[in-house]
């Protein structure tokens, strides 16, 4: 801004900018107050839970609080040879405190995750403490190492030292079938236990193909909706929206009725002689079921953005394309299709993001080969109660969605999205 414009004054001699600010201030405050409830709502229901999820997913404070003295005395230990007497002493003190609080079992569980075999030797130590067999004036190192040969194994002490930091990436690594091995470097889990990576890939694959199917089916429907006369298009619109008015569970359940081996679709196939009665294809509890049900359920999310974009494309553009000599296909491909790209982008992004986190439908019709990563998250939330692992995977999913969004922005541009 030049100095001259700064000098502009109002008729009353107040600098114009100041006067403008004053006049706008009231409106700004009003506007802020209006969005305030929404802001609070977003913070409480969105920002706060995600933050909470994140801390939970990396939180490893429990053991830090259980063995405060041990970790302190381990600070000076280089981790090469067996630790000094000092470390054994503080470990004994910490463990005794836990025994008194009856929390030693938890420590065993936690350490066992770090290295197998901890539970047994800790139980041994626990019994010795219970029977008061540890001489508190003698050498702790000797007494403890003589309890079990594992206490004499430096690997176990290294494992304890690894749990010292209050934060850990272990859950994220686990989500990718990786773990930190004894040497502290990242390694892959054994081949037969690599389930998560398969799930991630399957989730991406199913989300991708569901998006493709939705696009292939939604595009003609949206085009019809946008071009049919009002009275037919309204009816069609109701058909498109009808699934929205039905509960997701009901819709999924009706797919189960349709797709099961003794279901309507199979009955029909048998009736028209497509398959024989004793050879009915399995269309449920596998990927086919997930594809069919998810495509149907997510279809409106593809149709609606496409429709709203197509509605704005003047029919005279296609006519112009034809009158200028383009065959109907050329007119469609060169004129109509490029103009629908914002709608395609919006629809695909919407469907893909919804599909990537889909849960109920694959859980019900997916079977073993049709479940997605969200089902795994739910499993850890409800069954194993490993919430920090569930949180870590949830955040990885969120990151994945953001990456998809970022790629989309680079390729098509988010400004091009049109939802109506």
């Amino acid at each position: 801004m030049t100095s001259e414009t700064n000098k502009i004054l109002t008729t009353d001699g107040i600098p114009l900018e100041e006067s403008l600010k004053k006049a706008e201030r009231k409106n700004k405050i009003k506007a802020f107050l209006l969005v305030c409830p929404l802001l609070l709502f977003l913070i409480i229901t969105y920002v706060f839970p995600i933050g909470e999820m994140f801390t939970r997913s990396i939180d490893d404070k429990m053991i830090t609080n259980m063995l405060p003295n041990t970790f302190k005395s381990m600070e000076s230990w280089d981790g090469q040879d067996m630790p000094e007497e000092e470390v054994f002493k503080s470990f004994y003190i910490d463990f005794k405190t836990l025994v008194e609080k009856k929390e030693h079992g938890k420590l065993g569980q936690r350490l066992n995750k770090e290295k197998n075999g901890f539970t047994t030797i800790l139980k041994k130590l626990f019994r010795q403490i219970q029977r008061n067999k540890i001489d508190e004036n003698g050498s702790f190192k000797e007494q403890i190492t003589s309890l079990h040969k594992r206490f004499n194994n430096v690997e176990y002490w290294r494992a304890i030292k690894r749990t010292a930091p209050p934060y850990t990436m272990a859950k994220y690594l686990k989500g990718m079938d990786l773990f930190i091995d004894e040497n502290g470097s990242i390694a892959q889990v054994e081949e037969d236990r690599r389930i998560h990576r398969i799930l991630w890939l399957r989730t991406l694959e199913i989300a991708f193909f569901v998006t493709v199917f939705c696009f292939l089916m939604g595009y003609p429907i949206a085009h019809l909706l946008a071009t049919l006369p009002m009275k037919y298009s309204n009816l069609l619109m109701i058909c498109v929206l009808l699934p929205f008015w039905t509960s997701l569970l009901v819709r999924t359940a009706s797919w189960m009725i349709l797709l099961q081996q003794q279901g309507i679709v199979n009955d029909f196939f048998v009736m028209i002689g497509l398959v024989s009665d004793d050879n009915r294809p399995e269309m449920m509890y596998n990927k086919v079921g997930t594809y069919v049900a998810m495509t149907q359920i997510l279809l409106p999310f593809m149709v609606l953005p496409l429709y709203s974009v197509m509605k704005t494309i003047s029919p005279s553009l296609m006519r112009a394309g034809k009158s200028l000599g383009g065959t109907p296909f050329v007119a469609f491909w060169k004129v109509y299709f490029p103009l629908t790209i914002p709608g395609i982008g919006a629809g695909c992004l919407l469907v893909f993001i919804l599909a990537i986190g889909y849960y109920i439908t694959p859980a019900l019709v997916g079977g073993a080969s049709g479940t997605l990563i969200s089902n795994q998250i739910a499993y850890h939330m409800k069954t194993t109660l490993d919430w920090s692992f569930a949180s870590a995977m949830g955040l990885m999913l969120l990151t994945g969605v953001l990456v998809v969004y970022w790629i989309y922005n680079k390729l098509v541009g988010v400004d091009n999205i049109k939802l109506g």
Binding site: S314, R319, A320, K322, S323, L324, G325, G326, T327
Partner: protein, 362 residues
């Protein structure tokens, strides 16, 4: 101009959308090569339907359309080679001006050099050279219009159709565009079929005008004939301003008839569509053919009372009560001779019976 008088020919064309109402009834129309013909009419009169049938977006329900002697009803739009300018230009919003103009050439597989040449030529024709890389959204309405015209002409079509192309422009721009389109037509000699509901536009631009009403061509003639000698009361009312008297024929001879008005009084008129005594008729008279205090002897001469005076700058519109018709309009040039035009004054009005056309009663 070439001389194929039946370059475009509508032969007994009917069109109905719902099987109940005919939007176009028994249309017979010949358009000569190089002619600028306008289809003029109120909305819903069937003029746009005719254009769409010619372009190939609608099929005639009955009858046939010929282009240069060949029936074209079964030829799809993209093979007709007819250029079209649409109501809202229909420029492709995702293409530059150059790409818009190149579109019809590219689909015809013309070489790149040739395309460049033709696009250059078409753009300079509408004085838009240098705008090749602009997007349509960055152009003003008038510029978009010119791009649309250039695009319809760039592939050298035999016929160009224009569907109310100037409807979205403001008045001044519309007028200058009218002249521009007219000049383009004159310089390249393409056949133009133009649709509008604006009579001014039609009168300015056309060689001939077809006035549509109710699915039928009411009159097909040159602009001056259309204005001077309308053949029925619809055309008389639709084109230009008009004073009407309703009445009954008292007496009729070869070029003069006497009409008794419903409001009382008798006038002489030119019998156009009345043949016999006792017929109902509407007499139509152009405001500028009625004179105040006429010097020469005119066969109609009546007194009227001034009811309203509206100042229009170059002329004054005066509404009179004349022979019981209080909607009688007079256009008085703004000259010092007419200073006694005041509200409430009585003045003498005269006109020749030849200018008062006795038409059908509608």
């Amino acid at each position: 101009m070439s001389n194929n008088k039946e370059f475009v020919k509508f032969a007994k064309v009917d069109k109905s959308y719902d099987g109940k109402i005919l939007v176009v009834k028994d249309l017979n129309l010949d358009i000569a090569e190089g002619e600028f013909i306008t289809m003029l009419g109120p909305s819903g009169s069937g003029k746009t339907t005719c254009l769409m049938m010619l372009a190939g977006f609608e099929t005639p329900t009955n009858g046939e359309i010929y282009l240069d002697g060949n029936p074209i009803s079964n030829i799809p739009p993209h093979k007709r080679g007819i250029g079209m300018v649409f109501q809202n230009y229909a420029l492709f919003p995702h293409m530059t001006v150059y790409e818009n103009l190149a579109f019809p050439l590219r689909v015809r597989k013309i070489s790149k050099d040739e395309i460049d040449k033709k696009v250059d030529k078409a753009l300079s024709m509408v004085s838009l050279a240098g705008y090749e890389s602009r997007m349509p959204g960055q152009l003003s309405g008038g510029q978009q219009q010119r791009v649309a015209v250039a695009r319809a002409l760039v592939f050298d079509p035999a016929v160009v159709l224009m569907d109310e192309p100037l409807g979205a422009l403001d008045k001044n721009l519309r007028e200058s565009m009218q002249y521009e389109i007219k000049h383009i037509h004159e310089s390249i000699g393409v056949t133009v079929v133009y649709v509008t509901h604006d009579q001014g536009e039609a009168l300015t631009m056309s060689n001939r005008i077809a006035v549509f009403n109710d699915g039928k061509v009411q009159q097909l003639s040159s602009p001056d004939q259309l204005y001077e000698s309308p053949v029925n009361s619809f055309v008389a009312k639709f084109i230009g301003e008009n004073n009407t008297f309703k009445g009954e024929v008292l007496d009729v001879s070869k070029d003069k008839c006497k009409v008794k008005l419903d409001t009382g009084g008798e006038i002489f008129a030119n019998p156009i569509s009345v043949n016999s005594k006792g017929e109902k008729t509407t007499v139509s008279l152009r405001p500028e053919r009625a004179l105040i205090n006429p010097d020469e002897k005119m066969d109609n001469n009546h007194k009227g009372k001034i009811e309203e005076v509206i100042y229009h700058g170059d002329h004054t519109r005066v509404r009179l009560n004349l022979l019981g018709n209080n909607e009688f309009i007079l256009k008085v040039p703004n000259s010092s001779a007419n200073l006694d035009i005041k509200l409430g004054n009585e003045i003498n009005i005269g006109w020749n019976s030849a200018d008062a056309r006795a038409l059908d009663p509608k």
